[in-house]
C-alpha cells in the first residue's frame, strides 16, 4: 500500500460576511505517494480554496490537514513558510516566474532559499530544465520564452526543492492545446519516473482526461472520487 502524503479530515473553510459562504464544506480526502490527481469543478466550487489550504497558503476554519503525518493547520505563519519551502512545489496559472532572472536562475532561486550550495543548485537546475525539455533555453529570461515554455520552467522550479508533492492551480489555463499536451506529458513522465505526486485544481478537460484520479467538487463538497 502506498504511503499517505496528504490526509484531509473534515475540512471546512467559511468566509464570514453578511451571508457566510462555506467555500469548503466538510471535505475528507487522502492522497498517496505517486498520485496524479485532479480536483475538478466549476469556478467557485472551492477547489482552489482546498488547494491553497493543502499548500499551507490558507488556514481552514476547522478540520485538519496532515502532511507526512504532521498537522499543518497547527503551524504558525513562519513555520508554514518554512514548511512550504521544504515540502511543497507550486505551479501557478500565470507561471509567476521572476522576469529579471534566466530560466536557470528561476529554478535555482528556490534552492538558494534552502541554502543549498551553488554547484548543486546549478547542476540540479540544468538537469530539471533538461527533463522538462528546455535544454538550450537555460539562459533565456521568461519574456523570451513562450507561455508553454514558461510553465515548464515553473514545473522545474516546483520540483527544484525536492518537495513531497506538487500543487498546480489551473496550470494549463493560459496554454494552447499543444503546449498543454507537452506539459502534461512532462508531468506524467516525472510522476512515473520519479514517483512525484501531483495534485491539480482544474476545470480543463485536457488535464482531467489524463489524470489517474479525479475528485469532483461542488459547493465545497466532494461529490465523486474516481480512479482510473
Amino acid at each position: 500500500m502506498s504511503k499517505t502524503v496528504i490526509e484531509v479530515r473534515d475540512l471546512f473553510k467559511v468566509y464570514e460576511g453578511a451571508v457566510p459562504v462555506k467555500a469548503v464544506n466538510g471535505i475528507s480526502l487522502r492522497i498517496t505517494q505517486g498520485e496524479f490527481t485532479a480536483l475538478k469543478g466549476p469556478s467557485g466550487c472551492g477547489k482552489t480554496t482546498l488547494l491553497n489550504m493543502l499548500g499551507g497558503l490558507d488556514y481552514p476554519t476547522s478540520g485538519s490537514i496532515l502532511v507526512g503525518g504532521k498537522d499543518i493547520t497547527s503551524l504558525g505563519e513562519n513555520e508554514l513558510i518554512d514548511f512550504r519551502l521544504r515540502n511543497i512545489g507550486f505551479v501557478f496559472q500565470a507561471y509567476n516566474l521572476i522576469p529579471v532572472l534566466s530560466a536557470t536562475e528561476n529554478v535555482s532561486f528556490i534552492m538558494l532559499l534552502q541554502n543549498r550550495p551553488k554547484e548543486e543548485r546549478e547542476e540540479r537546475a540544468r538537469q530539471l530544465l533538461q527533463s522538462v525539455g528546455l535544454a538550450g533555453k537555460e539562459d533565456k529570461r521568461p519574456g523570451q520564452l513562450s507561455g508553454g515554455q514558461q510553465q515548464r520552467v515553473a514545473v522545474a522550479r516546483a520540483l527544484a526543492s525536492k518537495p513531497q508533492f506538487v500543487l498546480a492551480d489551473e496550470p494549463t489555463a493560459n496554454l494552447d492545446s499543444e503546449s498543454t499536451a507537452n506539459l502534461l506529458d512532462i508531468m506524467l513522465k516525472l510522476n512515473k519516473e520519479e514517483g512525484m505526486t501531483f495534485v491539480f485544481a482544474t476545470h480543463d478537460d485536457r488535464v482531467i482526461n489524463r489524470a489517474r484520479r479525479v475528485v469532483a467538487i461542488s459547493d465545497g463538497k466532494v461529490i465523486s472520487d474516481t480512479s482510473k
Binding site: L57, I81, F92, V100, S108, F109, L113
Partner: protein
C-alpha cells in the same frame, strides 16, 4: 543572487529608476555645492578677520574685557614684554603684535564721528597681520610722517576725506585726560567688512605715546601657525597667562564670527536633512510603485517559501542600491562642480554692498570639505534604509494567495 535580483529590478523600469537616481544625484550635488559655497564664504570672511584684525587669539586685561577704557591696560611695559616672550615660547605661535585701543572721535572740516582708534606697531603688524594688504590708497605707515592715520574707505567716504587730508583725533588717556591732535591721512584701507572700515582707524603707537605721554598696551594679538585647533592652542596659552590677563580665541573675541561658524555647521546639516527628506519620499514613492507592480511576484516568492526576513532584505538591498548608484554620481558631480568654481568663483557683484556690510566679498570661492562627503554618504545610506522600511512593510503585509491572483 539577492543582489543580482535587486540590481536587475532597478532596471526593470528604466525611466522611473533613472528619474529617482537622477533626483538623488542632483540632491547630493546641490547639497555639496551649498556646503562648498557656505564654507568658502564663511572661511574667507573668518580668514580675513583673523588676518587683518583679530589674529587667532588676543590677550587683554580682565578689566578691558569688562569695559574697554583707556585705563584698562595690560600692565607695565616690562609686564607686557614678559607676556610677549611667554607667548612666543609656544611652538605654534607665529608672532605677536601689541596694540593700544581707544574710543574717540575723528573730526573733519565738515563733520565728526565716533571711532575706535587702534594704535599699532607697523613693523610688527606687517609680519603678523595682513593690514598692509588692505590698503587701497597711500601706504601702511611707510613714510616717516609724524601723526599719520589710516582710515577705512567707508569712513573716508562718509567724512568726505581723501589722502593727505588732515583730521583731528580726540581721545582720552589712561588718567582720563582728554587729548586732541591733528593727524594726516596717509593711507586708506578696505577690508571685506565695511562696518569695520567705518568704525576703526589706525595710528602708530609711537605717535599716540608722544601725544598723550603714555605708552599704553591694551591688546596683544597672537597669530598661530594655522587656524586648526585654535581653541586647544588658546587653552594651552591661557594656562600660562599671569593673573589679570585673559587670552581669548577669535571665536570668543568676535562672537558674531564664531556664532556664524557654529550656525553654519547646524544650518548645513539642516539643509542636508531637508534635501534627504525630499529624497526619502521620492525613494519611498519609487519603491512603493515597484512593490505594487510586483505584487504577483512577491506573492509567489512568499508562497514558495521566501521568509519575511529574506523578503525584507531583498527590498532593503534594492533600495540601498539606488543610493549606492546615485550617491557616488552625486558626490562626483558635486566635487567636480566645486573644483571648477574654486577656480572661477561665484560672482555676486550685484549684491556687493549688502555682502560687504556682512564682511563677505562679492566673489565667493567654494571650498572642498572632505568630511562632509562622508556625512553626505552616511546620510544617503540612512535615507535609503529609512525609505525601504515602509515599502518593505507593505510587501510583508501581502497575502500570498491574493497577491498571486493580482488582488
Amino acid at each position: 543572487m539577492i543582489f543580482k535580483i535587486a540590481w536587475r529590478n532597478i532596471w526593470r523600469s528604466k525611466v522611473r529608476s533613472l528619474v529617482v537616481l537622477t533626483s538623488i544625484a542632483l540632491g547630493i550635488w546641490a547639497g555639496l555645492l551649498i556646503i562648498g559655497f557656505s564654507f568658502g564664504m564663511n572661511n574667507e570672511r573668518t580668514a580675513a578677520a583673523i588676518g587683518s584684525t583679530l589674529g587667532h587669539s588676543q590677550v587683554h586685561s580682565s578689566s578691558f574685557l569688562e569695559e574697554p577704557t583707556s585705563a584698562a591696560v595690560l600692565g607695565s611695559a616690562a609686564e607686557v614684554q614678559a607676556m610677549e616672550e611667554l607667548l612666543q615660547k609656544a611652538s605654534f605661535v607665529k608672532g605677536v603684535s601689541t596694540r593700544a585701543i581707544m574710543m574717540g572721535m575723528v573730526s573733519a572740516p565738515k563733520s565728526a564721528r565716533g571711532v575706535r582708534m587702534i594704535a599699532v606697531d607697523p613693523e610688527s603688524e606687517r609680519v603678523n597681520s595682513n593690514l598692509p594688504e588692505t590698503i587701497v590708497e597711500g601706504d601702511f605707515f611707510e613714510s616717516k610722517t609724524r601723526n599719520s592715520v589710516i582710515i577705512g574707505q567707508k569712513l573716508a567716504d562718509k567724512l568726505g576725506l581723501g589722502l593727505r587730508k588732515k583730521v583731528v583725533l580726540t581721545f582720552q588717556d589712561a588718567d582720563g585726560n582728554i587729548s586732541r591732535a591733528s593727524f594726516r591721512i596717509t593711507g586708506i584701507y578696505k577690508t571685506l567688512n565695511a562696518t569695520w572700515d567705518e568704525l576703526n582707524l589706525y595710528i602708530k603707537r609711537s605717535d599716540l605715546a608722544k601725544t598723550i605721554g603714555q605708552d599704553l598696551v591694551h591688546e596683544i594679538m597672537v597669530r598661530y601657525d594655522e587656524t586648526e585647533n585654535t581653541e586647544e592652542k588658546t587653552a594651552e596659552l591661557s594656562a600660562a597667562m599671569p593673573e589679570g590677563a585673559t587670552i581669548l580665541s577669535w571665536k570668543r573675541n568676535s562672537p558674531e564670527l564664531g556664532y556664524a561658524d557654529d550656525m553654519m555647521g547646524i544650518m548645513l546639516v539642516l539643509v542636508l536633512g531637508i534635501i534627504m527628506m525630499a529624497l526619502l519620499f521620492g525613494i519611498i514613492n519609487n519603491m512603493l510603485m515597484a512593490i505594487l507592480e510586483r505584487r504577483r511576484e512577491l506573492g509567489m516568492l512568499m508562497a514558495v517559501g521566501m521568509n519575511k526576513r529574506k523578503l525584507f532584505a531583498m527590498i532593503l538591498v534594492e533600495t540601498l542600491m539606488l543610493g549606492f548608484v546615485a550617491g557616488p554620481v552625486g558626490i562626483l558631480l558635486g566635487d567636480l562642480s566645486i573644483r571648477v568654481m574654486m577656480g572661477v568663483g561665484i560672482d555676486l557683484t550685484s549684491k556687493k554692498e549688502g555682502l560687504a556690510n556682512m564682511g563677505i566679498q562679492s566673489i565667493i570661492y567654494p571650498e572642498i570639505v572632505p568630511e562632509y562627503y562622508l556625512i553626505v554618504a552616511v546620510m544617503v545610506v540612512v535615507t535609503a534604509l529609512l525609505a525601504s522600511l515602509y515599502p518593505a512593510y507593505k510587501a510583508l503585509k501581502l497575502n500570498p494567495v491574493q497577491a498571486i491572483r493580482g488582488e
